[in-house]
Symmetry: D2
Subunit: 342 residues, 4 copies
Amino acid sequence: MLIIMRVDATQTQIQGVVSRVESHGLRAHLSQGEERCIIGAIGDGRPVVKDQFLRLAGVDRIVPISRPYKLASREFSPANSVFPINGVNIGGNPVVIIAGPCSIESRSQLLETAHAVREAGAHALRGGAYKPRTSPYAFQGMGEAGLEILLEARELTGMPVVTEVMSVEQLHRVAQVADVLQIGARNMQNYSLLHAAGESQRPVLLKRGMMATIEELLMAGEYILSHGNRRVILCERGIRTFETTTRNTTDINAIPVLKNLTHLPIILDPSHSTGNWEYVNAVARAGIAAGADGLIVEVHPRPEEARSDGAQSLKPERFADLVKQIKAIAQAVGRSTDQDDH
Amino acid sequence: MLIIMRVDATQTQIQGVVSRVESHGLRAHLSQGEERCIIGAIGDGRPVVKDQFLRLAGVDRIVPISRPYKLASREFSPANSVFPINGVNIGGNPVVIIAGPCSIESRSQLLETAHAVREAGAHALRGGAYKPRTSPYAFQGMGEAGLEILLEARELTGMPVVTEVMSVEQLHRVAQVADVLQIGARNMQNYSLLHAAGESQRPVLLKRGMMATIEELLMAGEYILSHGNRRVILCERGIRTFETTTRNTTDINAIPVLKNLTHLPIILDPSHSTGNWEYVNAVARAGIAAGADGLIVEVHPRPEEARSDGAQSLKPERFADLVKQIKAIAQAVGRSTDQDDH
Amino acid sequence: MLIIMRVDATQTQIQGVVSRVESHGLRAHLSQGEERCIIGAIGDGRPVVKDQFLRLAGVDRIVPISRPYKLASREFSPANSVFPINGVNIGGNPVVIIAGPCSIESRSQLLETAHAVREAGAHALRGGAYKPRTSPYAFQGMGEAGLEILLEARELTGMPVVTEVMSVEQLHRVAQVADVLQIGARNMQNYSLLHAAGESQRPVLLKRGMMATIEELLMAGEYILSHGNRRVILCERGIRTFETTTRNTTDINAIPVLKNLTHLPIILDPSHSTGNWEYVNAVARAGIAAGADGLIVEVHPRPEEARSDGAQSLKPERFADLVKQIKAIAQAVGRSTDQDDH
Amino acid sequence: MLIIMRVDATQTQIQGVVSRVESHGLRAHLSQGEERCIIGAIGDGRPVVKDQFLRLAGVDRIVPISRPYKLASREFSPANSVFPINGVNIGGNPVVIIAGPCSIESRSQLLETAHAVREAGAHALRGGAYKPRTSPYAFQGMGEAGLEILLEARELTGMPVVTEVMSVEQLHRVAQVADVLQIGARNMQNYSLLHAAGESQRPVLLKRGMMATIEELLMAGEYILSHGNRRVILCERGIRTFETTTRNTTDINAIPVLKNLTHLPIILDPSHSTGNWEYVNAVARAGIAAGADGLIVEVHPRPEEARSDGAQSLKPERFADLVKQIKAIAQAVGRSTDQDDH
């Protein structure tokens, strides 16, 4: 941490800051410029509350030097994290494609979709039993009945399943069914849920909040990692901006930035990040071209009957096209879509 | 709901949409323009999934006509909602000032602050026992011990207390202590928590998410109202934008917009919306000038020792100044800060 | 400027940076932390290109210490700048109200509006002869004919006039008519125009770009000031955010922030910052309560016939109410609306 | 245009709106719902000022139906626009790579870069003689001397050149040198410049403003097209959001969205859209994968000496890698980087 003093700071004020630095067991290093003094606080400043320094007399601002996350950082763990989610490796050379409906709506709908996406080349199945909805009057998911259908689809297709958990109370039950617990964008900073997901020791797919910075996403991951749960997958799913022709703005920059900052696998959700099935394939290709480790894509056999997210769901044929396109892009960047290619 | 057909839509496609409209028990009204056909779906379209129409052949886009919230709307309840929170009326002529520390840090810190803000003219006390923090390594609040201190402060000062609840598990206990349950910005779309807060029948102070639209804030309020809990206070606390000189951007427009759209009381949190104590008083004055029903302000006797939000906390003397300024502004807009002036 | 080295930077890399610092005539000050080395570059670093240091081996990032603007800063000129615009002082105790139509549409429309706003208490008249319009098919202003009408209104009412200049070619002629040259939000970073406005030595009302940071606004002001033209008025007119219920988001924080950073007068344009006449008065009051030195407000005798910005224009009666409200708010913050109250 | 009446609108108000619609030579079509009346205005509503309807009694809001741009739209011109810029075709199957320094700094710097990028596979050369800079104290470009160097580079390498024009006064001279006139992001809504560029009949590379919606970009293009100048290239160069780890946020969604809405060629500038050379290649690949028609990339032989944008400039070797990567991605999406592959 650097403490930038005001231009008019007095010697007494500088001394006050130095004493405060030392009271935290840190060393103070003074650098007197032409205009002002800068004080470096040397040592592990992570537990120190930075705002406290900001309020000392003569202080202009604080510049943090160390990253606020540790376990999630590339420095802590230079090699890419690669781990299996029920037989499918994520984070290695092969890119992973997770597909399925937004919501589980019925046994036949889920099974039909599951078979279709497996056939097309998906590696894992998604489907929500508990749904966060903007309106209290909208379909809130099938709940427990949906989980049971998901379990059946998992058994019938052999694919690992990813499903959302919305609260601590649900977590125990959802973890019995899910190979990967999904934490949705609106819950990215629901810290009670992050703690519980960390404790569960299940793989977690953590979606970036639509308002969250990349650093905040990493800090949310750090909550889970801090419980010793190392299997965290980060998911870019679009951020909110002023642009309104698409539901969200895909932050494609986040893919290489995250690859630089963290060892965790990064996937892209082109369905939410565009909100429009017509743009999903183009943006999915972009994600893999930019270096993402996988995709999570919404597919519905009859989007015009979907109870949620119909606008952004691909029909199975279109999804099959997407898988072919992704295969070509993956090869162009030296990767594969085949789990056997290690 | 209006369904705007594509310029090249065929008669068969138009018929398909009409049939679909009618299958929902709605009437279809066709309007043939020079360029394209527009189909109005007449009747209560709220339960209809709009995305489904979007995916029908020939459809260009959907324009919703009715507001998605009902109980929260001015149309539903034209007069301002006014209700007491343990003796203090909110939503009427007098503006309400809620003040106190970000976190409860110790018995002496809270009691000192409580007495100081009451002395200065605050109507209610705030203080967090459970704290949502970006970092898992930061102080997470005193928890149960904090609640007990809050209870004591409530008894000693006679002020109603506002405190945050972060999860459904905590809610029962927090509701035993709090006169008002606060739901924080990061939990504005934690639907499990909104449902539980609705069921609790306690007054709720609902903070706008930092990237939530005004409509989404109203929809979150609707979740609580839909359980018959009518005592919801909405709080503007700044939104996230590209501007970085302040922690958030106070959306001052939201005050008159919300006053127009809803009957619920609206308050402003100038501490979070600026993130800097130097700007709090100016923005607090602006909030009351714009028509807010109250303020929630962070105050700490020694901000340089605060375990959270020290940068934006007022010292008691500054807060006392603020109360005087607010009194003057309230008068200028025909309001009072005195609860006896009805 | 501080140069933060990477954790793995070598001694040779550190030496390389030190040599580069010294080659610019600056002194290098090394601060070796536990994790990494930080190099302070001491001296006037303003002309140094910071990106150049960023590309040296071993460098992680650059932290600028000095502000990039000088003439606009409070440090350079601690007292508020107060100057007359044809008899009306701006920047002092009295708040200044500028009002008039968005576009000059006809002689009768402008004169009717001018008399009405003067009657109601406005201090200066606004009206556009050259209009920046999103669409090439929209009314682009009356041009020269509009300037002549403006000149007549100025003579008849005695009010100083503010009008927009859109390009360098127009500037000479507009400066013959206008007491204050307005540079619009879309031209805030039109540097050719800023240079020309600086050279003109006329007072300039500089509007913040809808996506410009406060620092960028100050840098744009610096362009004008750097030509020795000290009469610059800054105008907050709303920024673009994700919120869509209003045309822009009024950045009310910007008022106290700018008051802190600069000595220049700051005014608010509540018409553009809300885009809706129903919200103009509330937000105008907020601006004065927050410390703005004035307002610029759109008024039209018949908004339903306005050729631009009808949605946000006040009718004269509503504007008269606004002036009364502003008088009350100004008094509440120790200011006046009367130019004779110095 | 649809006019949505208020729930409480009277028959007289509805009649007033109908009369107004008809006074514009349009037909009014009434649709009476259960809650409210909707009035369709049928005919060419483009010249009608929508705000005027908004201010009529009883009106709630206006929903535009037709797109505000015409010449730029896919409906107007269904096939992709393909045109040559001095021998290089843009908009067809082969993707076009434009590369070169941000600023022309010297004869040797430009010639060295020009030869290097041509060698690596670039199709056109970029380089700025007039530079828009945030600070008046920063290098503003070599001006006329830079143009002469650019002319020499053009002759020596045979590559077409792209260079920025910042104002109407410069345009005539810049158009003598440039094969493509670049209009920068800050000038996207400098309408005087757009008109002049349209009149010049030279190809124009129009960069999206950092604050501009996709629709506003198309409207800016429409300004140029409205002068009969059909050779407009649109360029996504990143938008401003809350995310700060990158200089801008690449709106990758804009690529397929623009491909859907317009026939004009779309290119991506991964240098500005990331602001960091380390992320340029990943994002450039993403752009081509998403369907862009080309790239404009900053390259500098010694970025650590660049007078502008050093942080985001590629070294020639890295650029050569990029060209290879782009070739592979182009093939994966059925395109080429070879101008002879039509």
